[in-house]
């Protein structure tokens, strides 16, 4: 009886593999695959051989790596958030903060985009209005269209959205730490910061490590929703990550074979990264993550 569900998995997760064949044909929309010319690895090699695509691929990879790297760089933030939140002694205040800061995680990216407009836009943005009415600036600043610091602004939005939620796992890990350890440390005269550093941090390090490995495994999969919504002609060159590039090339630009080829490479590299992260986990933790 579980057959229909297994078929669903097959159809939606595995059947698309057949579509990889488009990467080896000169396919144009509306044609049948068997009427297209077989071109072998032409679209794969064109990523390197063709100077225009080479430049584009390089730019897109730079964006992808840059934003993923920033993501890894800020991965200790939820840990810090959790540690300091748990140092707060008033339980009611703590859970109020926890509820309100996890809220942004459950709104859609479209809404984040809308929120960003409400705060930063030149037409009705809070920030411009505030700065104008306080006479700090005389002309409105177009924060959203600016191509400066796109990586950082994107990081900012995603931190705003996910920081509180990301901390929840660590809060659970902290709650699981034996409170006797803290009491013993207090008897020994350890200061608050010493207790945080020597008991709490080691207590949640394993959790952090697993999540870090998953982040590494997803190094080239930054998704496209956020970047699609925030892209505009001004910031496009700095915001286009691999996933968005595949969409822009394949579904907007109709270069189906070429973008399939890019996608195939991306899938392969991402599987390799997953195995790498898993292997790392096996060596260090003697346990696999998948």
């Amino acid at each position: 009886m579980s057959l229909p569900f297994l078929i669903a998995i097959f159809v939606f997760a595995y059947l698309p593999l057949y579509g990889w064949s488009y990467a080896f044909f000169d396919y144009h929309a509306g044609m049948k695959l068997k009427d297209c010319t077989f071109v072998g690895f032409k679209f794969f090699s064109s990523m390197i051989d063709n100077p225009v695509s080479r430049e584009e691929i390089f730019r897109v990879l730079t964006n992808t790596f840059g934003m993923s790297f920033l993501n890894i760089l800020t991965s200790p933030l939820p840990v810090i958030f959790a540690i300091f939140l748990m140092e707060m002694k008033t339980k009611r205040l703590r859970s109020l903060i926890q509820t309100l800061t996890t809220l942004p995680n459950f709104i859609s990216w479209v809404l984040v985009y809308s929120v960003a407009w409400s705060i930063f836009s030149i037409n009705d943005g809070f920030l411009n209005r505030l700065l104008m009415s306080a006479n700090i600036i005389s002309t409105e600043i177009n924060f959203l269209a600016s191509s400066n610091h796109v990586w950082l602004t994107m990081l900012g939005y995603s931190l705003w959205k996910t920081l509180g939620w990301g901390a929840i796992m660590y809060i659970a890990a902290i709650t699981a730490i034996d409170s006797q350890q803290y009491e013993a440390a207090m008897v020994d005269g350890a200061s608050r910061l010493q207790r945080m550093w020597h008991i709490t941090v080691p207590g949640i390090l394993p959790t952090y490590f697993v999540l870090l490995l998953l982040t590494i495994a997803n190094f080239i999969n930054n998704g496209m929703e956020q970047y699609y919504l925030f892209q505009n002609p001004m910031n496009k060159s700095a915001i286009e990550v691999l996933d968005l590039y595949v969409y822009n090339m394949g579904m907007v630009g109709q270069n189906i074979s070429y973008s399939t080829a890019v996608g195939v490479l991306k899938s392969l590299v991402s599987v390799a990264l997953l195995f790498f992260a898993n292997g790392l986990s096996r060596v260090v933790r003697k346990e696999s993550i998948i």
Partner: protein, 298 residues
């Protein structure tokens, strides 16, 4: 004896201040949007509404719901959220239970088969081509079928059911109860907490989903609220910029409480976020519970 040092007090004050500031950052945008939707539209457009509402009225909500496509989009969003969640619950409980049974035919293989699907994707274009050839282009089913079996929820359900003592099932088995009877009479009633968790995740996911409409839907009457909101956002922004450049200030173009680009954009946003804002505080514990169980074997 507990003594509080001066350092401790400074630490606490700093700590609470930083957290309150971040909390404010998370909440204020919603408040700002809300006060602008209920304030006098002329004042809102002129940028006079910053911290509190003025000239309160609720006409924007009435007007926005009359906008083209809003009613239909609300219907589609609700329909996909409800039916999609139902299917996901069905699939994850069924598969999760089946994978608990050692006698399941090649269980290990099929479990892997499902789990790998969580990590592997063939890529956007092949997926799109497959969906199109399955007839799921411009089809309501495209909203609910692909997301039906989510490996992560299957794992959640399986992990949960494994904690149920097998003796409970055995007592029914002795009376001749087959899998279906055991599943319906024992497993499902006992697993309401995890079903609630999955339901809540799925509801939020379905309600917030945007990309599937972007990829697969071209016909107006299948647009979701999220998509309509996105369209209005872009149109409204273009419109507003145009108005600004031609008239200098947007305020001039609006009389009393007619819809303005600002009010349309903000009101739609608030309509879309309201279900989440209201449901979230009550459902939060299910989210938290889910992520804990998921952490055990993720």
């Amino acid at each position: 004896m507990h003594k509080v040092s001066a350092n401790d007090i400074i630490f606490n004050i700093l700590n609470i201040t930083v957290f309150l500031a971040f909390t404010l950052l998370c909440v204020f945008p919603f408040y700002y949007i809300f006060i602008n939707t209920i304030s006098n539209n002329e004042l809102a457009t002129a940028g006079k509404i910053l911290f509190y509402p003025r000239g309160i009225h609720f006409g924007n909500y009435v007007e926005v719901l009359k906008l083209k496509g809003m009613g239909q989009a609300t219907f589609i969003s609700v329909a996909r959220t409800v039916s999609g969640t139902f299917l996901t619950l069905l699939a994850s409980s069924f598969l999760g239970y089946a994978f608990c049974k050692p006698e399941y035919w090649h269980r290990k293989f099929w479990y892997r088969f499902v789990v790998i699907a969580m990590y592997f994707s063939a890529g956007l274009i092949p997926w799109f081509v497959t969906m199109k050839s399955l007839g799921l282009y411009n089809n309501f089913l495209a909203y609910i079928l692909p997301s039906m079996v989510a490996p992560f929820y299957v794992i959640l359900f399986k992990t949960f059911v494994e904690q149920i003592p097998p003796s409970l099932e055995e007592s029914v088995q002795i009376d001749g109860g087959g899998y279906a009877v055991r599943f319906l009479q024992i497993i499902l009633p006992l697993s309401t907490p995890i079903l609630a968790t999955i339901a809540v995740f799925s509801l939020a996911g379905q309600w917030n989903s945007f990309l599937d409409t972007l990829f697969l839907v071209k016909s107006q009457n299948l647009f979701t609220l999220q998509y309509i909101m996105y369209q209005y956002l872009n149109q409204v922004n273009a419109l507003a910029t145009l108005m600004r450049s031609s008239q200098g200030t947007g305020a001039h173009a609006t009389s009393m409480n007619l819809l303005t680009p600002t009010s349309v954009r903000m009101t739609i946003s608030f309509v879309v976020v309201v279900p989440i804002l209201f449901a979230y505080p009550f459902l939060q514990r299910y989210f938290v519970k889910g992520i804990m169980i998921g952490a055990i074997k993720g």
